[in-house]
């Protein structure tokens, strides 16, 4: 075990997979010599050669398209999309091609690609460096969507994603790259060094796709969260003192429905939180699903706490970000209902 932050854990996952499997290639904007604007691919080109790790033209659609072609040949490309906000030029290739290739060819071809992309706010990046577009992908059948919340999961899930034979979107909470973040932006930064999930095996291991993790168990309320918001949930639970169960979804889709049903069946209350805009966000699906499966157990309305239905405003990101105060407020309201 080594202490790693999330950037290092992701780098290690790529390194391990480049080492194990000659069919793994890594490319994207600035990922080659430079090592990526968030340094996730640092040193990989130097170690594995420029045929394995290289810069790509600024053309997200082209990157995904060539990754699909490579997948059809038999490779396992891993593409970095520099910011999740810039994934839209690739939307057609992801939705019309990657997601449907296995289906439309009845299994003759598949698209075993992994798209890594930093998402979420908290770095004063304004509306085009802060988005959380996961809800656009969870609606698309044929895609898998993953969001880790800590270094250990990040590495294990990324390895699983690369080994997976279906197209996987792997969104990385950029706010968690260097440390856990409970949502109090005005407190000193934390690092992963002191966090148990900052202990990461140096070699190969996997965290299976499709399994949620219960990050905090509790009996009074279920909080469904992923990525950065897992830490906000933990903070809010601690601050309110409510006996909340925090479920870290890890894989958004396909979803670990059983874990959710079991928890809400037990607690009777459910709060769903995400940073993405509220309307039509992934929380809507979670809410609908919990309501369908747990209706007769519900003691209070399911609530969603999410990003406001506005772009992420640069100067006001801490009024935008659904922080522990807002989550705590919802927890109290739910417990009072």
């Amino acid at each position: 075990m080594t202490s790693m932050n999330m950037v290092q854990a992701l780098n290690s996952a790529l390194d391990v997979m480049l080492e194990r499997d000659a069919n793994v290639l890594v490319f994207g904007e600035d990922v080659g010599f430079f090592g990526g604007v968030f340094r996730v691919t640092e040193g990989l080109q130097q170690r594995h050669g420029e045929q394995r790790v290289f810069d790509a033209p600024i053309a997200e659609g082209g990157q995904i398209a060539v990754a699909i072609g490579m997948g059809a040949y038999g490779l396992r490309p891993v593409v970095e999309c520099q910011f999740a906000d810039y994934i839209y030029p690739a939307f057609d290739q992801l939705v019309s091609a990657a997601a449907r290739l296995r289906y439309r060819s009845a299994g003759e071809f598949n698209a075993p690609l992994t798209v890594r992309s930093p998402y979420g706010g908290g770095i004063f990046g304004g509306q085009t460096h802060s988005q959380s577009p996961e809800g656009l992908f969870t609606h698309v059948c044929g895609l898998k969507t993953i969001i880790p919340s800590n270094p250990y999961d990040a590495k294990g899930l990324l390895i699983s994603a690369i080994e997976d034979d279906d197209p996987v979107l792997f969104f990385e909470p950029k706010r968690l790259y260097t440390g856990p973040f409970g949502g109090h932006h005005d407190r000193p930064l934390e690092t992963w060094a002191k966090h148990p999930a900052g202990e990461v095996p140096a070699g190969y291991y996997t965290v299976p796709l499709g399994q949620a993790s219960i990050t905090r168990s509790g009996g009074d309320l279920t909080i469904l969260a992923y990525g950065t918001m897992v830490h906000v949930a933990l903070t809010a639970a601690a601050e309110t003192g409510v006996d909340a169960e925090v479920i870290d979804l890890r894989t958004l889709w396909p979803l670990d429905t059983d874990a959710i049903i079991a928890s809400v069946g037990k607690t009777g209350r459910c709060l769903i939180i995400h940073e993405a805009t509220r309307t039509g966000g992934y929380g809507a699906e979670l809410s609908a699903l919990v309501q369908e499966r747990c209706f007769y157990h519900l003691e209070a309305p399911i609530e969603r706490v999410a990003g406001w239905d506005t772009p992420y405003p640069c100067e006001f990101e801490w009024d935008y970000f659904p922080g522990p105060l807002r989550v705590g407020d919802a927890i109290r309201r739910l417990m009072a209902a």
Binding site: Q51, G62, A65, G69, G74, S96, R104, S105, A106, F109
Partner: protein, 420 residues
């Protein structure tokens, strides 16, 4: 500086519409044999005139002339003729089947048979093709069973794609034929990725992709050009300029002021425009590009200049937007007729053998068609089990799809459409 008057918006026109007489005299067509043939490792800039010109081999008298004459082996030539004829007869038969309601959709490539057939023969069997819906000739030239194609068209239980895809959107991995997309253009940069993979693996296989001139307006075209240029991918990028995209003329795609082939030069790789109805020219240019790619000199853009002789598809009525008889006036003729005339002229073929071949192919198509129809047709089945629709979304079926499948089965029972 000149005085400025007010601006006006230029709207491109089709050259003729219903009621007009088609006049193709605006085309400046060089005679066969006039284009030089540079070595296949030439600089892009050396191909400029090829990009603006038109490589032609078969002359008006049926003879093969000039440096692009591929000196085709007679066996291969007859294979090509046969594949073109089979493609055309197959198309006609399937078109009729659609009119009879036996398939919901069909799409012919009439007039463009030389494109896919000559190109297939110029490639190696394991080179990978990323076609559009109008290159059924690739499958036929690669001896893919037409029965298999028909079963897909009829959406019957032998349809390997399990009734999921619009007929004609084939997938045939074994034939090096990539799963066809309904989404225009998507395959073009994918082919570059496949070629990059082959190069990365130090393989010898190259990729070839096709796109319509209409679809070349999509961003995907540019992505293919950029990635092919940047990584010098071993890929042949074919742009089939059949003058029409449904009702829109090639001018609407940007072909008014320059050839499509000439776009390659600005990316630093060769562009060649070829008479797409000239089997020998298509074959020769494709060979040239394949040799170039296989020797690590990178991509080539080939513009295949041809004419969509028929409707866009069975859903289309071209009488609403073009005269109807313009194909008769198309100055580059019909690819099958021209190739036949050439073979007769060089003494490798004659009218009697031709009629016999046509008859043989008709019999073959009819036999396959009977067999395919016997296995089931769209209008009255049988089909695959609808439950198969839940397969192949993911490699392993997740829980929610199993539940949905069960729900659908329950409803089918409820509706009396499946036994309980």
């Amino acid at each position: 500086m000149k005085r400025d008057s007010s601006l006006h918006l230029h709207i491109p026109h089709a050259r003729f519409r219903p009621g007009d007489t088609a006049d193709f005299s605006y085309l400046s067509l060089p005679r066969a044999g006039q284009s030089p043939c540079p070595p296949s490792d030439a600089q892009a800039s050396a191909t400029r005139d090829l990009a603006d010109g038109l490589v032609r081999v078969i002359g008006d008298d049926g003879g093969a002339v000039g440096p692009w004459d591929p000196k085709l082996d007679p066996g291969l030539a007859l294979k090509g003729l046969r594949a073109m004829l089979l493609t055309r007869i197959f198309d006609d038969r399937m078109f009729k089947a659609q009119r009879q309601g036996k398939t919901p959709f069909y799409l012919k490539c009439t007039g463009e048979e030389a494109v896919a057939v000559a190109q297939a023969l110029a490639l190696r069997p394991d080179d990978m093709c990323f076609p559009t819906y109008r290159q059924q000739g690739l499958l036929i030239a690669r001896d893919w069973p037409i029965l298999d194609m028909m079963c897909q068209i009829y959406l019957n239980p032998k349809d390997r794609l399990k009734g999921r895809q619009l007929p004609v959107l084939y997938s045939a991995r074994q034939a090096g034929f990539f799963s066809l997309a309904g989404n225009l253009g998507t395959q073009f940069p994918q082919a570059v990725g496949w070629a990059m993979a082959s190069a990365y693996k130090r393989d010898t296989k190259i990729a070839a992709a096709w796109i319509g001139e209409g679809a070349s307006a999509e961003g995907d075209f540019h992505q293919a050009m950029v990635f092919a240029a940047v990584y010098r991918a071993p890929v042949i990028l074919n742009l089939v300029n059949n003058q029409w995209a449904i009702s829109s003329s090639q001018g609407v795609a940007g072909g008014e002021e320059a050839s499509f082939a000439s776009r390659a030069v600005g990316f630093g790789f060769p562009g060649i425009r070829v008479d797409g109805n000239d089997f020998l020219a298509v074959y020769a240019v494709t060979r040239w590009a394949a040799e170039r790619a296989r020797n690590n000199h990178g991509p080539t853009l080939i513009e295949l200049f041809t004419y969509r002789a028929g409707a866009h598809s069975t859903s289309d009525d071209p009488g609403r937007y073009r005269p109807g008889d313009e194909y008769q006036h198309w100055p580059l003729g019909d690819p099958i007729e021209r190739f036949k005339a050439h073979l007769i002229r060089i003494g490798a073929w004659d009218e009697a053998r031709h009629q016999a071949l046509v008859a043989e192919i008709e019999t073959q198509v009819d036999a396959a068609n009977r067999e395919a129809q016997g296995l089931g047709v769209h209008s009255n089945g049988p089909h695959h089990d609808p439950a198969t629709m839940f397969e192949d979304i993911y490699k392993e079926m997740p829980q929610h799809l199993k539940e949905q499948r069960a729900e659908m089965q329950r409803l089918r029972v409820l509706a009396g459409r499946a036994p309980s």
